[in-house]
């Protein structure tokens, strides 16, 4: 229950790359697919992202994450395929309904982009421990207070989910209905959420006192508990990524 993240612990070259470089990769990979509108080019970027996931030995773990976006992808294909405003050429017909070529091509392009977006984030999320990412951001100058906020969310949510289980049981023991018609289910929303919210808000009081005592508001430079990890090849990777991005922009401007 204490593992909120999608991080997959493996030993691979991708895991050893600097988190900031991966962040740059995510940004460039996604914006490139939106700058380019050529199917082959976008497909190429997607295949490259998949290739990196394969090197990182996490390709299998991305599939359920893509599955979460399945509904979005399905509705894009259906809605754009049937109803895109520029529809003219009929691609093929299923019974009385016709799928149009223009809409289908656009739906295909968007699907590639969405899958690439999820996969590119996957490269970062699946191969980087959140602690390492936040640490890298802190070293780049993120306020330590925000670093605390980001990491403590990951700890607090499992605690709150556990508390929720207790409260649901307690309310059921008192005879609250959590099943039945929609109005019945809706009515049970507040008695479930109320106690959890109250409890967690009162807890913030104790937590902030505890933080104050440990110098949360202290001024001056922070030191790091862990030594900075030695990431190799960061500079050549970044130069390659930026060069690629400039080439994409140049291509778009010319064509």
């Amino acid at each position: 229950m204490n593992n909120m993240t999608l991080y997959v612990s493996r030993d691979s070259p991708v895991h050893r790359v600097d988190p900031m470089t991966k962040l740059l990769f995510v940004f460039i990979s996604i914006t490139s697919t939106y700058i380019l509108s050529d199917h082959l080019a976008v497909l190429g970027i997607l295949l490259f992202t998949f290739f990196i996931l394969l090197i990182g030995k996490v390709f299998k773990s991305i599939l359920p994450v893509i599955g979460v976006s399945f509904l979005l992808i399905a509705s894009i294909i259906i809605v754009q395929g049937f109803f895109h405003p520029d529809r003219a050429t009929v691609l093929f017909e299923i019974g009385p309904i016709a799928i149009y070529k223009e809409g289908f091509l656009i739906a295909f392009l968007i699907t590639l982009r969405v899958v690439n977006m999820v996969a590119a984030f996957g490269v970062l999320i699946l191969t980087t421990k959140p602690d390492d990412l936040v640490e890298a951001l802190l070293q780049k100058g993120l306020s330590p207070k925000f670093g605390y906020v980001l990491l403590s969310v990951l700890q607090i949510i499992p605690q709150m989910v556990a508390l929720t289980g207790k409260i649901t049981d307690a309310q059921r023991a008192r005879g609250m209905e959590t099943e039945g018609g929609i109005w019945m289910r809706f009515k049970s929303f507040l008695p479930l959420l109320g106690p959890v919210v109250l409890n967690s808000l009162t807890e913030t009081r104790e937590r902030s006192i505890a933080l104050e005592i440990r110098g949360f508001n202290a001024k001056g430079n922070r030191t790091f508990l862990y030594e900075r990890k030695n990431y190799r090849y960061s500079v050549p990777f970044r130069i390659a990524l930026i060069a690629f991005f400039l080439a994409v922009i140049a291509w778009r401007v010319i064509s």
């Binding site: 509904l71 895109h84 980001l150 969310v153 949510i157 959590t178 009162t202 913030t204």
Partner: protein
């Protein structure tokens, strides 16, 4: 004076601790909505509650952190909507400070306004990233019908967002309002920048 406090960037420790708790509340709202199989998301209770308690800036930060963390743990698509959540927090916070949470009627108005603004912010994102669909079955069915009648894309997409966002945000704001009214005074005062007594 009031305005200055509303936009204060000097957060107390309590406000910083409120942010993770509010993100957790968002998460639970979503969890309960899916456990109880409600046809809404209700995933912004924490954001709205935080902006009622600690002002628009904290609310906006909760919104961004919420979607970043959600993107990291479940669904990367939610990174796209970080801006929407931030604006929800901002609007709810400003209106709450102007007194729009004094009674139920005003809270419903606040919900409608937040829903409309959420839809206005989401529509360009939807069009830019996925040509107008939202992934919500009811909204997309309306979107498809409007496109079939040759209405403009932006209008159809806006309607798609509106039918989903407005009822959802009204319920969200109403629930946050009820919880907010039920909070004990010492909890409310903790995040308030006005009083010096409870300041940590």
């Amino acid at each position: 004076m009031k305005k200055k406090r509303m936009w204060s960037l000097q957060f107390s420790t309590a406000a910083f601790v409120l942010i993770p708790a509010a993100v957790g509340i968002n998460f639970l709202g979503k969890l309960f909505a899916s456990v109880l199989k409600l046809p809404l998301w209700v995933d912004a209770i924490g954001t709205v509650l935080a902006s009622m308690l600690a002002g628009p800036i904290v609310g906006a930060i909760v919104g961004v952190v919420n979607n970043v963390v959600y993107g990291f743990t479940t669904d990367p698509v939610s990174f796209v909507y970080a801006i929407t959540q931030a604006v929800i927090g901002l609007v709810a916070g400003i209106m709450a400070y102007r007194g729009w949470i004094s009674n139920v009627g005003k809270a419903i108005v606040l919900g409608v306004v937040v829903g409309f603004i959420a839809a206005i912010v989401s529509t360009p994102l939807n069009i830019m990233f996925w040509e107008g669909t939202t992934g919500n079955v009811w909204g997309d069915a309306l979107f498809a019908t409007m496109l079939a009648k040759d209405m403009p894309l932006w209008l159809a997409s806006f309607a798609d967002s509106i039918v989903v966002d407005v009822p959802d945000k009204v319920v969200t704001v109403l629930l946050s309002f009820l919880i907010f009214k039920g909070l004990p005074k010492n909890v409310k005062l903790m995040y308030d920048n006005q009083g010096e007594i409870e300041r940590l």
